[in-house]
């Protein structure tokens, strides 16, 4: 991928949204960057860490989002420019600090970038973080294109410094992970020294001080609003006094533009595109509400603009505005597969809204095509459920857990958590896990389940977590379990990386975001420090793993089992082997096997030859871990050293 730090203002480059955000921060001369891996925001920090040495900046993967924001806040109050990036749920984690950092202010530019995930492609919630900006009373920017992603990030630092308040940029999956052409700007690296001392005070106070700071925050917002009225990130296209206008932000802009074009409504519909969406540039919006009779809001997920503009419209009613008919989520005009206010936007959704409101017909594809396609889809196309990669140790760990719980025989509960092993709820994970919410909720909820014996719930409780998740969110819950006597077994699936988000390092990796060697904080040492029984085992030693788990389940208390085996994608095997199935030994469908490797174990490298009626190995997918060979009841899977 292209080098992000090129000093060639005016050069056009194809950049991913996250890369553009990183580039914008570089152009602003960012000094301190922090975050926690989280889709769709992970690449922002990865990109910045790739050039950190070159630009003498500091980039860190923090243990979780609140520490990340706190650390960045400290850098900013010391006069540096700081950026923190995270996924939407990360905003929940750092909300505690955000709700005080807004009041305690900043000196250097302090920018928070949140990546939302409409349709929850890889998240357990669709939450719309724009609400945090309103909640915290801080300026909010929503880029609509990769170019804006860069330009807004750059400007956000200036804005933050001028107003002395943290500023927020909200991106979504479709922007962060899409690529578009970006014209680069100049990079202005500014050497600054950090300063903070006895003469400084950085607090949101309490009592009267807090109220006073709160009032100061309101003033800052007013200043921001004045700037937003003139911002180049807001514009209007289309008929000057159109009766029908679309009010949109973010990805909604390009979708609306294309929908209007496809429906040939360029003459009738105006589009007000907003890039500064909190506080609202009220005068600008009012100037268009004045001529509009119908307004359609096109925005990702929550009716954020919709509700806030309606409040403005209510205020303006006394001046004779309206009546205006508003369309959007409330009117069910903009809706996804499951209804309004859920699922991501696309051109077709906007087309659907426009054709319904304006009573038009639009046929993207012939009816015949659609019905033929539907028929084929349902009759011959199988679905493709997610599965663990070939060689993934989680498959082994979850099989061990399944066996141990069956051996135990008391219908034990397994709570899940966030990571690749979230797939423990699916058939690829033998559907072992029954719960899944947020980071740390596995052991968190297990604290509850493990203390309900007095109410009749007397079963083993197993909580899953990953290594990165452990550091992020599990430690307080583990302490709670010991302190409050919860009977639970925490299984840490330690594959030595933060896998799901792209193999970033964590405190146990021995390396930091900058690739430098660092101290290892060992999970087992933390457990010993807390005072709970802890064991370490390789899940690929299946018999040992099952026996140890089973024995741990037979007695009460809070315990930890660390299943440790490196992720094969992050740490590919050096020695190449060839794995294949001896067709004579394979008994396939017969009693004694019943297609164990393909039907139950489910590694994508184990495939079934319907013609021969035997198992085979897909050698382009197989990664050579050899675990299936150990499980094969006929020892028919052979591992050979490759030539």
């Amino acid at each position: 991928m292209s080098y992000i730090g090129i000093d060639e203002p005016g050069k056009r480059m194809l950049l991913m949204g996250n890369e553009a955000i990183a580039r914008g921060a570089l152009e602003a001369g960012v000094h301190f960057c922090s975050g926690y891996p989280g889709n769709p925001a992970s690449e922002i920090l990865t990109t910045l860490s790739d050039v950190a040495k070159e630009f003498d900046s500091y980039v860190e993967w923090s243990v979780n989002e609140i520490v990340a924001l706190e650390a960045a806040g400290a850098a900013a109050i010391s006069g540096l420019r700081a950026l923190t990036a995270m996924k939407n749920l990360g905003a929940d984690v750092c909300a505690d600090f955000l709700m005080t950092a807004n009041l305690s202010g900043t000196k250097g530019g302090f920018v928070l970038v949140t990546g939302d995930d409409p349709s929850a492609h890889s998240t357990t919630s669709e939450l719309d973080t724009r609400n945090y900006a309103r909640f915290a009373g801080i300026p909010l920017l929503e880029p609509a294109t990769t170019q804006e992603a860069k330009d807004m990030t750059n400007w956000a630092f200036d804005l933050s410094e001028e107003l002395e308040v943290i500023c927020m940029i909200r991106t979504v999956t479709r922007l962060s992970h899409s690529r578009g052409v970006v014209t680069l700007g100049p990079i202005k690296p500014e050497k600054r020294s950090a300063n903070f001392g006895f003469q400084d005070m950085w607090t949101s106070g309490s009592s009267r001080i807090t109220c006073m700071l709160h009032s100061i925050l309101h003033e800052k917002l007013k200043k921001a609003q004045a700037k937003f009225e003139e911002s180049k990130f807001n514009w209007y296209v289309g008929k000057d006094d159109a009766d029908f206008i679309i009010v949109t932000s973010g990805t909604g802009w390009l979708y609306s533009l294309e929908a209007v074009k496809l429906l040939e409504l360029e003459e009738d519909v105006g589009i007000l595109k907003l890039g500064t969406t909190w506080p609202l540039p009220e005068k600008l919006i009012a100037s268009h509400l004045r001529h509009a009779k119908e307004v359609l809001f096109v925005e990702e997920t929550d009716p954020f603009l919709e509700q806030n503009v309606k409040v403005l419209a209510a205020d303006l009613a006394i001046e004779g505005f309206g009546p205006i008919r508003f369309y959007g989520k409330k009117s069910n005009s903009i809706r996804g597969e499951f209804g309004a206010g859920t699922g991501e936007l696309d051109v077709d959704i906007v087309i659907q809204a426009l054709t319904e409101i304006k009573e038009l017909t639009y046929v993207p594809t012939e009816k015949e095509y659609i019905s033929k396609a539907q028929e084929l889809l349902s009759s011959i196309v199988p679905s493709r459920t997610m599965s663990f990669c070939a060689g993934c140790p989680h498959r082994a760990s979850l099989w061990a857990i399944k066996k141990a719980l069956k051996w135990d025989g008391r219908d034990g509960i397994v709570t899940g958590d966030i990571g690749c092993y979230s797939l423990a709820m699916l058939p690829t994970g033998f559907s072992v896990a029954r719960t899944l919410q947020c980071m740390g909720a596995g052991i968190g909820t297990a604290n509850g389940f493990g203390n309900l014996r007095r109410f009749g719930l007397n079963k083993p409780v197993v909580a899953l977590t990953g290594d990165s998740t452990f550091y992020h969110a599990c430690i307080p819950a583990l302490i709670n379990a010991r302190w409050n006597g919860a009977n639970l077994l925490l299984v840490v699936l330690d594959n030595n990386t933060t896998a799901m988000t792209g193999h970033q390092p964590h405190p146990g990796s021995g390396v930091n975001a900058l690739g430098q060697s660092s101290s290892k904080v060992l999970i087992e040492n933390i457990c010993k420090g807390i005072g709970v029984e802890v064991q370490v085992c390789d899940p690929f030693n299946l018999d040992e793993a099952v026996q140890n788990l089973y024995e741990m389940l037979q007695t009460d208390g809070t315990k930890v089992m660390i299943f440790r085996h490196a992720c094969p994608l992050a740490f590919p095997q050096e020695k190449k082997v060839r794995v294949y199935v001896d067709q004579d030994k394979c008994i396939g469908e017969e009693c004694g096997c019943a297609k164990f490797c393909t039907r139950v174990f489910g590694c994508p490298g184990n495939i079934w030859d319907y013609e021969e009626g035997k198992a085979k190995i897909d050698e382009t997918i197989c990664n050579g871990c050899g675990f299936c060979a150990e499980l094969c009841p006929e020892e028919a899977i052979i591992i050979e050293e490759a030539a």
């Binding site: 019943a594 164990f596 139950v600 499980l631």
Partner: protein, 364 residues
């Protein structure tokens, strides 16, 4: 003719495992990745998708087709309803001092297995061996006299011997033998009669034990609590009316009322029809009041030949069994059958297939 329906793992789960009828014989385990033996019961990790399986076919609690098994082994249905088909019932004991001192009673089992190995009749045998803690026996493959002596002594806690039998059979070129309880012997005979091909045709010698119950492995915690962490030497249950369970450690003997131990008896034993291993080649039990002798029932032609050779070689000595003791054996076995049949009737357990006239006779 009786119609046997061979079913699969789901039915094994429903008909046997869920109903607590599993006697932990071990026959359904080590056949596939789906069934394990854990702490005195077979555990199905998940049922495979087959509708017919070895697990169901070999299990001694899915169906016991007594007429077919009798025909296969003895050529005809049993004439003796009390203790099953037999050629003779006799008293016997080992003559070798080493075997006698290692044995609990007459040492006949150890002597016969050792003889079968040393004479080349079998290459290996699967026995219930003592485990390290002397409490939980585990299936042990033996190949020589000293291996056999390690396994000598009565076991009261269940040992799933059959888990190792097919594996052992696969590995030998010649025949193997085994010593099992009645349910275990039944499962092996079902294996040999099964339509599923296995290495069971390499099983040569089957010695069955007299048995009225086995204890769940949980009994070991109770025993350990009683005696503390010392080395155990053996357990013993003297004949009625003693009503005792005796635990011998290296330093002392602890006597526990048998009633204390009854709660650890496997539920499966309460519906066991077979007290004397009716399908073995040779069945061996105690002699009441004569701790250095065994009661031996010789059943098959092969058993008869081996027994004769062992006696001629001076491995064992025999004596006639006193009529009183024989009558007592018949009575005990018959009473058990009556009791069990009534129990099966009330619990609607229908796995036992015998002639209708015999069933009515026993139930009246």
């Amino acid at each position: 003719m009786y119609r046997i329906e061979i079913k699969g793992p789901r039915e094994l789960q429903n008909e046997v495992l869920d109903k607590e009828l599993c006697s932990a014989c071990g026959a359904c385990t080590n056949l596939c990745p789906y069934i394990d033996m854990v702490a005195g019961r077979a555990v199905m990790i998940e049922p495979c998708n087959l509708s017919e399986g070895k697990c169901y076919d070999f299990c001694p609690r899915t169906y016991i087709d007594v007429p077919t098994l009798d025909n296969d082994l003895f050529g005809t249905y049993r004439s003796d309803l009390r203790i099953g088909s037999n050629i003779m019932v006799i008293k016997a004991r080992a003559r070798d001092d080493e075997i006698k001192s290692a044995a609990q009673y007459g040492g006949v089992v150890s002597a016969l297995v050792t003889y079968a190995l040393e004479s080349g009749e079998i290459e290996a045998a699967v026995l219930a061996g003592a485990s390290i803690d002397q409490i939980n026996p585990k299936p042990t493959v033996v190949r020589n006299r000293s291996d056999v002596l390690q396994c000598a002594g009565s076991k009261y806690i269940v040992c799933p011997t059959i888990t190792e039998v097919l594996e052992a059979a696969k590995k030998t070129t010649g025949k193997i033998g085994l010593v099992g309880t009645p349910c275990q012997v039944t499962s092996v005979r079902k294996m040999q009669a099964s339509k599923f091909e296995t290495a069971a045709d390499k099983i040569g010698l089957v010695i069955g034990l007299f048995c009225t119950w086995a204890l769940l492995p949980q009994a070991q915690d109770y025993i350990k609590d009683l005696v503390g962490s010392v080395n155990l030497v053996k357990f013993d249950v003297p004949p009625p009316p003693a009503n005792m369970f005796i635990i011998e450690t290296e330093t002392k003997k602890v006597e526990v009322s048998l009633d204390e131990m009854r709660r650890f008896i496997m539920p499966a034993c309460n519906v066991c029809f077979d007290m004397t291993s009716e399908f073995a080649d040779i069945s061996v039990g105690t002699v009441e009041g004569a701790a250095d002798w065994n009661t031996v029932i010789v059943r098959t032609g092969f058993g008869k030949e081996l027994f004769r050779q062992a006696r001629e070689a001076g491995i064992i000595e025999t004596a006639p069994l006193e009529k009183e003791r024989l009558d007592h054996l018949y009575e005990a076995s018959l009473n058990r059958k009556k009791k069990v049949l009534k129990e099966m009737e009330s619990k609607k357990i229908s796995c036992l297939i015998i002639r209708e006239e015999d069933r009515s006779k026993l139930l009246s």
